[in-house]
C-alpha cells in the first residue's frame, strides 16, 4: 500500500516493489530534479502533487505556497523563478486556462518553469474525475501571440517521474516554461515503480542528466542572457517586447529578431526535445500514434494483435510539442494508415495529419465519454482499416 508521505516510501519500502501514485511520482521526480519552489491551488485531479510538495519541500528548505488562485500560483512561480529558484506548479484544465496569460509572460521573459496539467474532462467544470486529453491544443496555443511551446505527455507512473525530470531539464536548458500533460488516470493510478529502476525506462533520445543549478551550464545558444534578480546586473524584466538588455523596444527589426529567437530556441532543437518510442518498428501496414494513457492501450493492442497474427507498429510520443516532425514523417513514409486514438475529438490527429498526409492516411479515433480507449477498441479499428484496404 502506498503511504502518505513520499519519504516513507523511499526509506522503508523495498524500492523494487514500491507502489506509488502517478501524482506522487511526479512530485518525487520534481524533488529529485532539484525543484525547490512550488506554488499552487488545489484542483482535482492534480492536488496530490501539491500535497506531496507541502510535506516534502519544507524538509529540504524549499518554498511551498498555497496561493489564492491559479493565476497567483503561476505568478508566484514566475517570481520565484526570476529570483533564481527552480519553480513548479500543478493544476488541471480550469486552472490551466487561468494561467495562460502568465504562461505567455514566462515565455517572454524566459523564466524556466514546470507546469503539470493533469487533464480532466472538459470543457468548463466538465467531469473532474474523468480522464481526458482535451488540453493538448490549450497547452500549445493557450496564451496569446506567436510563441514556442514545449509540451510533454506522461503515459504511466514511471513517466510521471522521469518526464518531470526531463521537463525540468528542458526548462533550465531552454529557459522557458515546460508543460507536462497527464490524464486523470495517469495522475491517479498506482503502479509499482522505483526511481532506482529508471534505467529500465530509457527513451529513444533521452538521457536525463540534469543540472542541479538554476542556470543550466549548457544553455542553448538562442537563449538571451538570463536576467536573475539579485545578480549584479540588477535587471529589468518586462513582458513588453524587449531586446537583449531587457528593456522594451518598438523597433520593428529588433522586435522580430527577439520573437524569432524565442521561436528558434525551441524549433531548432527538436532532435533534443522530441522524445518518443517506436515499437514493432517497420512491421505492419498500420501505425498507432499515441500519447498518454492511450499509448498504453496502443502498446497492449500491439501485443494483442501479435497474438492474433497481425502486425501493428506503435509510435509512442512523449513530446507533443515541438512537433516531432522527423519521426512522424519517417513512419508515415512506410505505413498505409496512421491511427490516432486520443481522449478528445482529434486535437493531435490534426497536427499529425498536417505532417503526414502526403504519405499516408491519417485516421482520428477520438473518444470523449470520460472513459479510456481499450486495447480491443483500437485493435478492432485497426482490423477494420486493414480489412477495408484489402477489400478495395
Amino acid at each position: 500500500m502506498e503511504r502518505w508521505h513520499t519519504h516513507v516510501l523511499r526509506e522503508k519500502i523495498d524500492p523494487s516493489s514500491m507502489l506509488i501514485q502517478g501524482n506522487r511520482a511526479c512530485a518525487l521526480g520534481a524533488l529529485d530534479a532539484g525543484v525547490r519552489f512550488f506554488a499552487g491551488y488545489p484542483i482535482t485531479p492534480s492536488s496530490e502533487i501539491m500535497e506531496a510538495m507541502a510535506v516534502e519541500l519544507p524538509k529540504v528548505g524549499g518554498v511551498f505556497l498555497q496561493m489564492e488562485d491559479e493565476i497567483a500560483s503561476i505568478c508566484a512561480c514566475i517570481g520565484g523563478s526570476l529570483a533564481g529558484q527552480l519553480a513548479m506548479t500543478a493544476t488541471s484544465g480550469p486552472g490551466f486556462s487561468l494561467m495562460q496569460e502568465a504562461i505567455g509572460y514566462a515565455i517572454m521573459v524566459e523564466a524556466p518553469l514546470l507546469i503539470v496539467d493533469v487533464m480532466r474532462a472538459g470543457p468548463s467544470t466538465g467531469r473532474p474525475t474523468a480522464p481526458s486529453q482535451g488540453d493538448v491544443m490549450q497547452a500549445r496555443w493557450g496564451t496569446h501571440g506567436d510563441h514556442p511551446a514545449v509540451v510533454l505527455a506522461a503515459s504511466n507512473v514511471a513517466d510521471m517521474y522521469r518526464l518531470t525530470m526531463a521537463a525540468v531539464r528542458f526548462a533550465q536548458r531552454f529557459r522557458t516554461p515546460v508543460t507536462l500533460l497527464a490524464d486523470e488516470v495517469v495522475g491517479h493510478m498506482r503502479e509499482s515503480f522505483a526511481p532506482e529502476l529508471i534505467d529500465r525506462y530509457r527513451l529513444t533520445s533521452g538521457d536525463f542528466d540534469f543540472s542541479p543549478s538554476y542556470i543550466h551550464p549548457e544553455l542553448v545558444r538562442e537563449v538571451h542572457p538570463p536576467h536573475v534578480l539579485g545578480s549584479e546586473a540588477h535587471p529589468h524584466v518586462t513582458g513588453l517586447i524587449h531586446d537583449e538588455t531587457g528593456f522594451p523596444t518598438n523597433d520593428p527589426q529588433k522586435s522580430e529578431k527577439f520573437l524569432r529567437e524565442l521561436y528558434d530556441k525551441v524549433g531548432n532543437h527538436r532532435d533534443e526535445l522530441c522524445l518518443y518510442d517506436v515499437k514493432n518498428e517497420g512491421k505492419g501496414r498500420v501505425c498507432i500514434v499515441a500519447y498518454g494513457s492511450c499509448a498504453r492501450s496502443a502498446r497492449a493492442a500491439w501485443k494483442l494483435a501479435e497474438k492474433e497474427g497481425l502486425q501493428v507498429e506503435v509510435l509512442h510520443l512523449y513530446t507533443l510539442f515541438p512537433l516531432p516532425v522527423e519521426i512522424i514523417q519517417k513512419v508515415a513514409r512506410r505505413v498505409e494508415f496512421m491511427l490516432i486514438p486520443e481522449l478528445n475529438l482529434g486535437q493531435y490527429a490534426r497536427e499529425v495529419r498536417k505532417m503526414a498526409e502526403n504519405w499516408t492516411t491519417v485516421i482520428s479515433m477520438g473518444k470523449i465519454d470520460g472513459t479510456l480507449i481499450t486495447p480491443r477498441e483500437i485493435l478492432d479499428r485497426v482490423t477494420e482499416l486493414v480489412g477495408k484496404y484489402e477489400s478495395v
Binding site: 508521505h5 497567483a72 505568478c75 508566484a76 514566475i78 529558484q85 540588477h234
Partner: protein
Amino acid sequence: MSEVLDIEQFLHTERLPHIWCPGCGNGIVTGAFLRAVLDLGLVREKTVVVGGIGCSSRAVGYIDLGTVHSIHGRALAFATGIKMARPDFTVVVLTGDGDGAAIGGNHFIHACRRNIDITCILFNNQTYGMTGGQVSPTMDPGDRGTTAPYGSIEPSFDLCRLAEAAGASFVARGIAANIRPLERLIKQGIQHKGFSFIEAVVPCPTEYGKRNPPAGVIAMLDDTKARSISVTAAAKMTPDELRDKIVTGILYEDDEAPEFQSAYAAIVERAQAGAAEAPARPKQPAAPRKPRKTAPERPPARNGEAADASGLPLEGGE
C-alpha cells in the same frame, strides 16, 4: 539639489523622459520612493521593485534597481514569489487603483491577509489613465469617466480600510501634494516588518481632471491638500465632518502581527527537525487584533495617546 543628483543613481536616466503626462503625480511618488531607498541605504542588488500594468507600474521601467514589469493585476503575486524565494530582498510593489484594487483585488486582500513582508505603494488617481480615463474602483460616485459618461454609479473603495480589514499590519495614506510626509510614510512602510500598504493620492489632470472638477493640476493639488486631514485631527471629528476628507498618516500599525515569511521559516525548521509527522499542535486561539488608531467613520477605538505618533505636518510643513 544634491539630493536630486543622489537619486539619479537609482534612475535609468537614459530612458527619460518618462511617458507620464504633464502634471501627473506619479513622478512625485516615484521620487519620494527613491529618496526613501536612498535614506534607508538599501542595497541595489537586494532591492526588487515589482509593477503591474498601468501608468503607475511604468515607474519600474525608469528605476535602476532589480525591477519586474509584470502582468496586469498580478504584481503582488509575483512579489510574493520573489520574497519567498529570496527572503533577504526588500520587495516593493508599485501599483495603481485599477491594477491593485480591481483586477488585482484578490491578490491584494490575500497579500494583506498573509502579512508577508512586502511594501505596496498604490498610486491612487481614481481612474485608468493609460487606457483613457475609464471608471476605477476608487472613483467617487457621480464622477465621470469614459465608461461612465453620465457619472459613476458605483460606490468607491476605501483601500486603507480594506487593507486593514484584510490583515495588513501597516496601513498609511499620503498625498502627492505633501511630498515629505509621503516620503516618511514610505520609509516607515519599508522598515515595517509585515505587509505595508501606502496609498498615495495622485492627480491625473489629463484623464480624470479634464472630466471632473476641479480642472487643472494646480487646482487638483490644492483640492487634495484642502481636503486632507491628519489622523490625529480626524480622530476628533464626526463622520459628517469627515465626509470628503482624505485622512492621511499612519492609519494602522501592528508590529507584533506574525509575518508570513518568518512563519514559513519556522515551518521549515520544524520539518527539518523531523516534526512533520508529529501530531498537530493544539489550536491556538488567534491573538486579538490591535485596535485601530483611528476610526474615521466610527468612534475612535483609543483616543488621544494612540494617534499622536502618526500625526504628520500637513500644510506648509516642509
